[in-house]
C-alpha cells in the first residue's frame, strides 16, 4: 500500500508548512506490484484531481517511466491502462515520505503511512 494515487493526494500538514509541501519525497522505499481490477470510468473521473507532474515524477522514482510528461487530452484505452498501473498497482510497503519544505519524515510501516504530527507541529 501507499499507492501512487494516495501519494498524489497527500501533502505535509505540519503547522505553517503551506508552500512547497507537495509532493512528498519518497525515501528508502520498498516497492511491490500487485494487480488491481481495471476500471476506466473510475480513472476518467479521477483524472481532474491528479497533479500530473507529481505523478510522473513519483512513478519515475519507483522505476516506471510509462507515463507521458504532459497529461494527454485523449484518454484512449492504452493510456488508461498505463495510468491504472501507475496509480493502483505500485505499492510502497516500507520507507518514508519526506516533506520537501520542512523535512518532516512520515514513516511507512507495513504499508501504512504514519501521518501523525508531533505536538509542536500542530497549529
Amino acid at each position: 500500500m501507499v499507492r501512487l494515487i494516495t501519494h498524489n493526494l497527500l501533502a505535509c500538514h505540519a503547522k505553517n508548512c503551506n508552500t512547497n509541501n507537495f509532493p512528498l519525497q519518497l525515501k528508502d522505499v520498498q516497492v511491490e506490484q500487485r494487480e488491481a481490477e481495471f476500471n476506466p470510468d473510475f480513472l476518467r473521473g479521477f483524472m481532474p484531481r491528479i497533479e500530473w507532474k507529481a505523478l510522473v515524477e513519483a512513478a519515475k522514482q519507483v522505476g516506471d517511466t510509462s507515463l507521458p510528461l504532459e497529461q494527454p487530452e485523449m484518454l484512449d484505452d492504452e493510456f488508461l491502462k498505463q495510468l491504472h498501473h501507475v496509480l493502483l498497482e505500485i505499492h510502497i510497503d516500507e520507507g518514508a515520505l519526506v516533506c520537501p519544505n520542512c523535512g518532516h519524515v512520515y514513516p511507512i510501516m507495513n504499508g501504512i503511512p504514519n501521518m501523525l504530527l508531533a505536538e509542536n507541529e500542530i497549529g
Binding site: T6, A11, F42, G111, I112, L117
Partner: protein
C-alpha cells in the same frame, strides 16, 4: 404509470427500510413511489415501480427486503379480498392452463393453524389453476399473508384470535430478497480481525447502501478503527480509503495490518486503496472534491472516546509538564499523544464541513449520531447541516433510553468550499440565549450522568454499551 409491488420486510430496523429502498432506487436511477402515509413499523408495504426488473434489483441489494410480490389485493376480510382478486382475473388467467404452482399462506405476529391454511388455499379455487402443484420448484408462487397486531407481552393462547387479522395481502412472488445472507457473511465473529469497536454486520451493510457504493466509486472512513464498513463497502465494488488516529486499531498485532487480513478474507483487499494514521482534524489531504462518499461511525465518548491531538484544556495550575516529542512517534506503540476530548456536537458539525470539502458534488456523508431519546428533536439534525449540504435520511436505532441515528447527507453544491478550520470554539455555545441546543450536545456527560445503572429489562444494546462506558471511564483516568 407505476405498477404496485408488495414488499415484505425483515422484522428489524424499521426506520431504515424506506431510506434503504430510496437509496438503491436512486443508485439505479429508477423511480419508486412510496405512499406519504406509510406506516414504517409494519412489515408490509405496497410501493410503486415501473417494472419487475426494478423490484428484482431492490430484492438483490436491500438488506431489509425479505420478499417482493406483484401486488394483487389487500383487504380486511377474505370476502373483500376475493372480490378484488376476481376482478383482476386478466392478470392471472394466463397461469391457469398449465403453470406449475404453489400457494404460500403465512401470518405475521401470529401463526395460522395448518387446518385453516388449507382452507385459505381452497378459498382461491375459483382461480382454477390446472397446472401441477409443485412444492419444491414451482414456476409460480402465490402468497397470502395475514398481518396481525403485535400482541407482544400480552398473555394469550397460541391461536387465540385466529382470523382476526388487521389486513390480508395477496400477490405473486417476484423474488426473495437475497442480500440478507450478507449479514452472515460479514458476521464480526467470523472475521480474521476485529475489535471491541467493530460495527455489527447488518448495520455496516445498511450504512453502505446509504452511500450508494458501486464499482469505481471512492469511499472514505476517517474513523476506520477495525474497518467494519470498509469490507461491506468494498464488497459492492467501491474503493476505500481509511484513517484513524490510533494505528493499532487498523494494524492489530501481526505484521500484516488486521484490516488487510480481514479484507483478504472477503476477497476485497485490492479495493482497500490505502490506510493512514492521522487525526482527522489535522489531516494531510492535499485537495477536496475526490470522494463519492464518507461512511463513518465517529467516536462519541462512550464506545471509543473522541480524541484529538492537542492539550486538554485544563486549568494551567493542573497541568503537568510533559516533554513535547519533537519527532513523530511510531503509530503501533501504546503511546497515546496528549489529546483533548472532542465534544460530540462540535465533531458532528466539523464532519459535515469536512464532507462538503472532500466530497464530489452529489456525494454522500453517512454517519451515526447518538442521541438521548426523550430529548431528541427533529431540529437537532438540521443544526448540523450547512449551505450546500442537505439531509437525505435520518433513521433511529433505538436502544431505549438512548439511541443512535444514522444520518445521510448529500452534497448538493458544485461549488468548492475550503476545508473546515476544526475550530471547536466556533460552535454555538450552550449559553447563547435562544440558540437551540441539540440533544446530542454533551452526549457523553449525559450518558454518564443518566444511564449509569442498567435499568430492569434493559435491552442488549444499552447493556453492552454500559460495560464499554465503564471501560471508557477507566481509560479516561489514565489520560495525561
Amino acid at each position: 404509470m407505476l405498477d404496485q409491488y408488495l414488499f415484505i420486510f425483515a422484522q428489524a430496523h424499521e426506520d431504515f427500510r424506506i431510506p434503504e429502498l430510496r437509496s438503491i432506487a436512486e443508485l439505479h436511477q429508477f423511480p419508486i413511489k412510496i405512499p406519504e402515509d406509510i406506516d414504517v413499523k409494519r412489515p408490509f408495504a405496497v410501493l410503486g415501480l415501473e417494472k419487475e426488473e426494478h423490484a428484482r434489483i431492490l430484492a438483490r441489494r436491500c438488506i431489509l427486503v425479505k420478499h417482493v410480490y406483484e401486488f394483487y389485493a389487500s383487504a380486511t376480510s377474505y370476502e373483500e379480498l376475493h372480490e378484488k382478486n376476481r376482478a383482476l382475473h386478466a392478470r392471472w388467467d394466463k397461469y391457469a392452463a398449465d403453470t406449475s404452482f404453489k400457494f404460500f399462506v403465512a401470518g405475521f405476529n401470529q401463526s395460522i393453524p395448518q387446518r385453516r391454511q388449507k382452507d385459505v388455499v381452497e378459498s382461491f379455487s375459483y382461480m382454477d389453476f390446472q397446472g401441477k402443484i409443485d412444492m419444491k420448484n414451482p414456476e409460480l408462487i402465490m402468497g397470502c399473508f395475514e398481518e396481525y397486531y403485535d400482541k407482544q407481552g400480552t398473555m394469550r393462547h397460541k391461536h387465540e384470535g385466529d382470523g382476526n387479522f388487521r389486513e390480508v395481502f395477496f400477490g405473486r412472488l417476484i423474488e426473495d430478497g437475497s442480500a440478507r445472507s450478507l449479514v452472515q457473511k460479514f458476521d464480526v465473529k467470523k472475521r480474521a480481525y476485529y475489535g471491541n469497536t467493530s460495527m455489527e454486520a447488518e448495520i455496516s451493510l445498511l450504512m453502505v447502501n446509504q452511500t450508494l457504493a458501486s464499482p469505481g466509486k471512492v469511499v472514505y472512513d476517517p474513523f476506520i478503527g477495525t474497518g467494519s464498513m470498509a469490507y461491506t463497502t468494498a464488497h459492492f465494488g467501491a474503493f476505500v480509503f481509511g484513517s484513524d488516529i490510533d494505528g493499532r486499531q487498523m494494524r492489530g498485532k501481526e505484521n500484516q495490518p488486521g484490516i488487510m487480513r480481514a479484507a483478504a478474507q472477503y476477497g476485497v483487499a485490492e479495493r482497500i486503496l490505502d490506510l493512514g494514521t492521522f487525526d482527522v482534524t489535522h489531516h494531510p489531504w492535499r485537495c477536496g472534491g475526490f470522494l463519492d462518499a464518507i461512511i463513518t461511525d465517529p467516536p462519541y465518548g462512550v464506545r471509543a472516546g473522541a480524541k484529538r491531538l492537542g492539550r486538554r484544556e485544563t486549568p494551567r495550575s493542573l497541568r503537568r509538564p510533559i516533554s513535547a516529542p519533537s519527532t513523530p512517534r511510531p503509530d503501533d506503540q501504546p503511546y497515546i499523544p496528549p489529546m483533548k476530548l472532542y465534544e460530540l456536537s462540535a465533531l458532528a458539525t466539523d464532519l459535515v464541513l469536512l464532507a462538503r470539502y472532500l466530497l464530489r458534488p452529489g456525494g454522500r456523508l453517512v454517519f451515526f449520531l447518538p442521541t438521548v431519546t426523550d430529548e431528541y428533536q427533529e431540529v437537532d439534525i438540521q443544526t448540523m447541516t450547512c449551505e450546500g449540504m442537505e439531509l437525505v435520511a435520518n433513521s433511529l436505532q433505538d436502544f431505549g433510553v438512548w439511541g443512535r441515528r444514522l444520518v445521510t447527507i448529500r452534497k448538493t453544491t458544485s461549488q468548492d468550499y475550503p476545508p473546515p478550520a476544526f475550530d471547536t470554539a466556533a460552535a454555538p455555545s450552550d449559553d447563547v440565549d435562544g440558540a437551540h441546543v441539540p440533544a446530542h450536545r454533551h452526549f457523553r456527560q449525559k450518558y454518564f450522568q443518566k444511564f449509569r445503572s442498567p435499568t430492569e429489562g434493559d435491552e442488549e444494546g444499552s447493556q453492552r454499551s454500559l460495560s464499554e462506558a465503564i471501560e471508557q471511564v477507566a481509560e479516561d483516568n489514565n489520560l495525561p
